[in-house]
Symmetry: C2
Subunit: 186 residues, 2 copies
C-alpha cells in the first residue's frame, strides 16, 4: 500500500501501527469534476492520493481562487477545517479521475495516541503544508508574475500539464490574460 | 520553568527529556526595539516567550508589514527559515523589553530523535501556526476591515494595547487611516 510506504519513509512504523492504519482507512474513487468536499461542510478526512490530481479552491466574491494542488503521493485536506474542526471555507475538487485513500480524523487521533511514533508523520506533514502556504504567499507578494510561473514550471511542471489555465492563473494570483502573455513570451 | 510547564500540557514529558531540554535552551533578554532576527539571516532558534511581546515583519517595497505577533507562553520563530533552512525573509523585533527562551534547531531535532513523545509538541505547534497563518489570510480576504479589527479586539485584545497603530494596521491588511476611522466608530 503506497500510503504505508510513504509513512514508513518518514518514521519507523511498527507492525501494529501499520495494521491499525490499514484497517482504519478507506479507498475511494472520484470522477473528473467531482466535488470531494463542499464549502460549509466539516472536513473529517485526511486524503492521500494514490492516483490523480485534486485542488482546494474558494470563491472571492464570484471569482474562483485555487488555493492548492495535490497529486500522487501527497497528503491533502482542508487543514483549516480538519484541524480546527470548523466548517470548511474551501471546496476540494477532482481534476481527473482519482483514487484516494482517506483517513478519518478520529482514526488519526487514535493512531497518534496509541502509536506515538506516528506523531512524527503528523509533524512533518504539517511542516510541509506550512511551508507550502507560506511559500505561496511569499511568491505572490515578492515575485513577479513571470517568476511565479517559471517557478511552477521548474518545481511542479505536472500541474501545468494537468490543471486548467484559469486554475493555474488564480493559484499564481494573476489573471488568465497575464498568464497567456507569459506563456507566449516563454 | 514555564517552557516545561507549557510542553507538559501538550505531552507527557519524561524526566530525561525534561533534563535534556532544560540543558539545551538559553534564556535571553532583548530591549524594546531590538532586532531579534534580521532579514537574510539563518533562523536557528525556536523562541518561547517568558515575558514581553515580539513580532515578525517584512518589507513590501518600502512598506513594513507585520506578519505576526507573539506574546507570553507562545512559541515563535521565522518558521520558513527555521524549518526549510533558508535565509529568513522576515525580521523578528521586540516590542517591549523581553525575556525569551531559545531552543536551538539542532537541540530540537535531537529532542525529537531521542524522545519521540516530544514529536507531539512539534506537531501541535505546527498545527497552531498553520491555523494562525491561514486564519490571517482568510480574514484579509473575506472579512471587512471593521470585522478584522473587532476580531482582534475579541480574541487578542492585548495586542491592541501593546503594539503600535501602524503595526496593527499592516497586520490587519489595512491603512492606518482606515484603522483610525474604525477605532473612532467603535
Amino acid at each position: 500500500m503506497e500510503l504505508i510506504e510513504e509513512i514508513s519513509g518518514l518514521t519507523q512504523l511498527s507492525k501494529e501501527a501499520e495494521t491499525f492504519l490499514v484497517n482504519s482507512v478507506q479507498k475511494i474513487r472520484f470522477k473528473k469534476g467531482d466535488e470531494i468536499l463542499g464549502i460549509g461542510e466539516n472536513c473529517n478526512h485526511l486524503y492521500f492520493i494514490n492516483k490523480g490530481i485534486i485542488r482546494g479552491y474558494y470563491f472571492l466574491e464570484t471569482k474562483e481562487i485555487t488555493n492548492w494542488f495535490a497529486q500522487e503521493k501527497e497528503f491533502a485536506t482542508c487543514f483549516y477545517s480538519f484541524i480546527a474542526k470548523k466548517l470548511s471555507v474551501e471546496s476540494i475538487g477532482a481534476l481527473e479521475d482519482c483514487e484516494l485513500i482517506r483517513i478519518p480524523y478520529s482514526a488519526l487521533q487514535e493512531l497518534y495516541a496509541r502509536f506515538p511514533e506516528t506523531e512524527r508523520v503528523g509533524r512533518i506533514i504539517m511542516e510541509t503544508y506550512y511551508l507550502k502556504l507560506e511559500e505561496r504567499l511569499l511568491n505572490i507578494q515578492f515575485k513577479s508574475a513571470k517568476e511565479r510561473y517559471q517557478n511552477l514550471m521548474e518545481f511542479k511542471p505536472s500541474i501545468i500539464r494537468r490543471a486548467a489555465m484559469g486554475q493555474i492563473a488564480s493559484y499564481l494570483g494573476i489573471t488568465q490574460e497575464t498568464l497567456s502573455r507569459i506563456r507566449a513570451e516563454i
